[in-house]
Every structure is written in C-alpha cells, then in structure tokens.
C-alpha cells in the first residue's frame, strides 16, 4: 500500500521523475478492489435453496430419479430420440436454412416477382402455427392428394377430358400414402415453417453487410451471384449464426409437436406413453426433460465453434483465449468482461 500512494502522489509530468531510467518503472497497481458484500449474501441464499431442492430430489420418492434414468435408456425412447427428435431437427433445419436463405435473397432481389413470392411465402408459413401445420401436412396431404399423377403437360387430365381422349394422359402415378411416412411429412412441415423465420434472419444478415463490399465485389468483376456467394454471405453468416443457433434449439424442442401428428417414433410421444402405461407420469416427463437439456447443451457448444469460425478476421483477441471465451459465451461468466 505505501508504494501505491507514493505513485499516486506524483502527478503526470512524463519526463519528470528526475531522469528516471527504464528500470524505475512503477510496479503493478496494488489497490483494494471494490467489495461486493451483497454477492456473498446472494450466494448463501441460492446455495441454501439449491440444497433444499436437491434434498427434495432424494427424499421425495415421487421424483423417482432411478426410474427416470431407466426410462431415458429404454429402446423405444432412444429410437424416438434418434428419429423423431435428432433426425427431425437436423432434417427440418436443413430444409429451413437452405430454403430460408433462398427466400431471404429473393426478398432482397431486384426482380419484383421474386420479391412478392418471397413475401407471400413468409406471410403464409409465419402466419400458421407449427402444430397446425404439422397436423395439416401429416394427415391432410394424404387425404387431399392420395395420388400424385405425373403427365406430359400441366393440366394433362383436364386437357384429356376436354379433348375427349380415352386415356387421361397420366404417365405414372405415385401413391402418396405408400411412399410417405409421418416422419417425413413432419420434417417437411417443420422445415417449411422454419424457412419463413430463417428467411427473415438471412435477410437481416445480408442487409448488415456494408454496401462497400458489394461494390468491391462488383469492381473486381464479380456478377451479383458470385459476389453474394463469395463476399456477402460469408460476412452475413456472422450475423446469421447466433439467431440460427437459437432457431435450432427452438426446433429441437418443437419436434415434440410431432407427437400430435401423431408420430410414434418421437421422444415425447414415447415418454408420455410410458408414463401413461406405468402411471409413473412425472418420472417419464423428467426423462424427456433431461434428454432435451442434454441435446440443447450439445447444440450450444456446437454454436460456439461455428461462431468462432465465421468471425475470423474480426477482433484478433478472440482466437487467443479459447476456453475463457467458450465459458463466457455459455454462462456469461468471465472475469475480464470489459475487455
């Protein structure tokens, strides 16, 4: 302490200090940090509440964690997790991101036809609730269009009837109910719905890229398509990725809607069925909850690495403290928060 007061006492004159040699550099500042007594109180209260909850897990037999863990590992639950949750999430996000970027670009196009189509798409799929869409696709399509008839011309059947032909010109027809499964319709419905949201995210990302970048791409002779792919989109990704991670996590949870398709190979459907059958409803729900949390955690870590990849070239400090950054991204706890 005495050393620090001495330094504080000598005011700014830079060359002062009476011919200070480089070895005379002042040591690191040794100051008493601001105390935060409130934090200790808060930690004590939170610790006690946590202890109470954990003790209830153990003492309250209705929680029945051992049974919940067993449910998590049942084969039908694992199958539901793989197909109805993981594959459905990956599939619908793949559709959603691809189609969403295309529609986002359409909405920013110079072509008025594309702009209107993009708008109408977003209007419809953002306007209908996902649960309704899922049921609409799962049961509606097979009812409305039991067969897909492929003909040589548009309106072949109507044309044949109008011309009074004996054949109806259908080359071949697909039985929709035979080739499709509820899982596929679920993925398509969720993917189409997601594309409407992703389109808005992609549009915001593209608009966030400086106009100078478009001009620089044009100035080295790139057409609009190449410039979009090589220059604009890679930079837009920096803005697109965080909300896309959000959407993926939301999608993971929304796959539970497929249970109402109804899709039997689905995590929530299976855990509910087990709960209803065994009358152990709460432990079965706990099993589903825990699986969702595990998958969400994996996604958050994946998002961190994706974000780091697409932020290359921005802020040299990021690459240096990898572990600290991961921790600060995930739980918002980093000592040097102001850096």
């Amino acid at each position: 302490m005495p050393a620090s007061t001495e330094e504080a006492g000598s005011p700014p004159s830079r060359e002062g200090g009476g011919g200070a040699s480089p070895t005379d550099r002042p040591g690191p500042i040794d100051a008493v940090p601001v105390r935060h007594p409130g934090r200790y109180v808060a930690v004590a209260i939170i610790a006690m509440l946590a202890a109470m909850i954990i003790s209830s897990f153990v003492t309250n037999e209705r929680w029945d964690f051992p049974y919940a863990f067993r449910v998590m590992n049942y084969t039908p639950v694992l199958e539901g997790l793989l197909k109805g949750t993981i594959i459905a999430t990956l599939g619908s996000m793949a559709i959603g991101i691809t189609l969403g970027v295309v529609i986002g670009i359409m909405r920013l196009s110079d072509n008025p036809v594309l702009r209107v189509v993009g708008f109408l798409y977003t209007w419809f799929f953002r306007g209908v609730p996902r649960l309704v869409l899922v049921i609409l696709f799962g049961t509606g399509i097979g009812y409305l269009y039991p067969t897909f008839d492929i003909g040589p011309l548009p309106f072949s059947q109507q044309l044949a009837e109008w011309l009074g032909l004996s054949s109806d010109l259908t080359l071949f027809s697909l039985n929709v109910n035979q080739i499709s499964s509820t899982l596929i319709w679920g993925i398509i419905a969720m993917g189409l719905s997601e594309a409407a949201y992703m389109a808005e995210i992609a549009r915001a990302g593209i608009m966030s890229v400086d106009d100078g970048q478009r001009e620089a791409a044009a100035a080295i002779g790139m057409g609009p398509g190449l410039g979009m792919r090589r220059v604009i989109l890679p930079q837009a990704m920096r803005v697109i990725i965080p909300p896309t991670g959000n959407e993926t996590i939301a999608m993971l949870k929304d796959t539970s809607l497929l249970a109402y398709l109804p899709l039997a190979t689905e995590l929530f459907f299976q855990t509910q069925a087990i709960g209803n059958r065994t009358l152990k409803i709460m432990p079965a729900l706990t099993a589903a909850t825990m699986w969702y949390l595990v998958l969400t955690t994996v996604l958050m870590i994946g998002q961190f690495y994706l974000e780091r990849h697409f932020s290359r070239g921005y802020g040299a400090t990021r690459a240096q403290s990898k572990s600290a950054t991961l921790r600060s991204r995930l739980i918002g706890l980093s000592e040097g928060g102001a850096k």
């Binding site: 970048q213 002779g221 057409g223 190449l226 890679p234 697409f310 070239g313």
Partner: protein, 278 residues
Amino acid sequence: MSSSASGGMPLVHAVNVHKSFGSVEVLKGIDVDVHAGEVVCLLGPSGSGKTTFLRCINQLETIQGGRIWIDGELAGYREKNTKGGRRLYRLKNKEIAAQRREIGMVFQRFNLFPHMTALENVMEGPVKVQRRPKGQMREEAMGLLETVGLGDKSSAYPGQLSGGQQQRVAIARALAMQPKLMLFDEPTSALDPELVGEVLQVMRDLAAQGTTMIVVTHEMAFARDVADRVVFMDGGVVVEQGDPAEVINSPSHKRTQAFLSRLRSEHEQVAKAAADLV
C-alpha cells in the same frame, strides 16, 4: 477492339455525361478523354461530382444521359440498328461484370474483404472471376503484395492492418486483375496523415510504370508532380483542365482560384499550428 496508343482513340471517352440522384443533378454534361498511359487527377470541392463521375466510369452508378466508351466499347449498353434508327439495349449483369473486369478500382474506405487474408483478397478476383490457376496466382499475388511493400503481411486479415496497409492491399487486389485502367476514389482521404505518404508512393510507382490512372484526390502536391493532366470540376461541370502546374499555380477560372486559395489557407493554418507546437 484493342486501342493502343497508335489507334488514337482514347481509353476513356466520356461524352456529355449526365447523372441525377432523384431531383438533384450531380453531373451536368461531363466531357473527359483519358488516353492510355495517362495519369489524370480529378480535382474540385466536395459535392462537385468528381467521385460520382469516377463511379460512372465503372458503372457503379448508371448514367441518365451521354455515353462513356471504355477502350472503344460502350459502357453498359449495346447500340443496334433497328427500323426506327439506332437504339440502345441495356447489357445484362454478366456483361456489365465482364466490362468491369477491365477496370481496377480503389475505394476511399478500402472495402477489403474482412473475412479473407491479404493474400486471399488479392487472389479472389483472378481465381474466382478470371479462373486463373490458384498455384500460379498465389505466386503472382505474393509478388504484388511485395511491390506494395507488404510481402510480410500476406496472412494478415484486414482488421489487423493499418489504414495505409489496407489501402495498399486494396491497390494490389485491383492490380491483380491486370486492368487496362485504374480508378482511385480519394484513396488517402480516410487515412491518418502519417500514413498518406506510403499509399501515394505506391501510386507514384504505378504512374511511373505507365499505368493509366484516374485519381480523385485532394493531394495537390501529388496531382502537380504525378498527373499528366488535371481536370477541375465544380457544380457538376468541368470548369477547366490542362497541365497540372498551370492549373494549380495559375488557374484561369475564378472557381478554380477560389478553391485553390481556400485549400492553401487551410494548409497554412495547419503549418502554422504545427510550427506553434515545436
């Protein structure tokens, strides 16, 4: 249609160029010719239309009247004979992109691609647009970075470079396309004063090698020493043009005189302030 110096046709032949933004007319009939190998500086107060004119040459702005020919080729349009006489047909985006390939451009705010290293910035155009082999282009790009004095910064991202270094990478990026013409839009205006010199030096070297350049600038010393001709613009028209020493030292037009004397008094104030500091 290659025009060598013997052809006599100017590399840039702009006739009666008009450009408006909404109801504001920014260019009111510009006639400028630039011959191959020439260095032309566009001077004038801000708002005079010199940057807009430069951008029109590269079709970053579409013009509403007049014609611009680059190396004998009409920019942005094809002229065809029809029954009703000669008509203009707008070119497709692809064709316009092809025309831009012949012109290198350096921007005031550099506009480097921030997600690519310096080397990748320089290689992007030749590899992705001209489809030249990557391995050969890498060596050529390294050579270009060395000529602008940044051979050791090839793997740095733009965010890790100073403004002057970024602008020199931007010049290398434009040169990598082997353009017939280089456009510079106030290349030193966004730089800290002590970084201006390094960029101007690269441009002096380019001029000495016979590169055709059109430079919008406020650097009078550069214009006087390097330009073959200066074009003074004000209010969307060319006020006067000619030999740099003549126009800058003894301008014949009132508006040129006013602009230059304003610039001089600013310089004197800066010099005086600097002298007071010492």
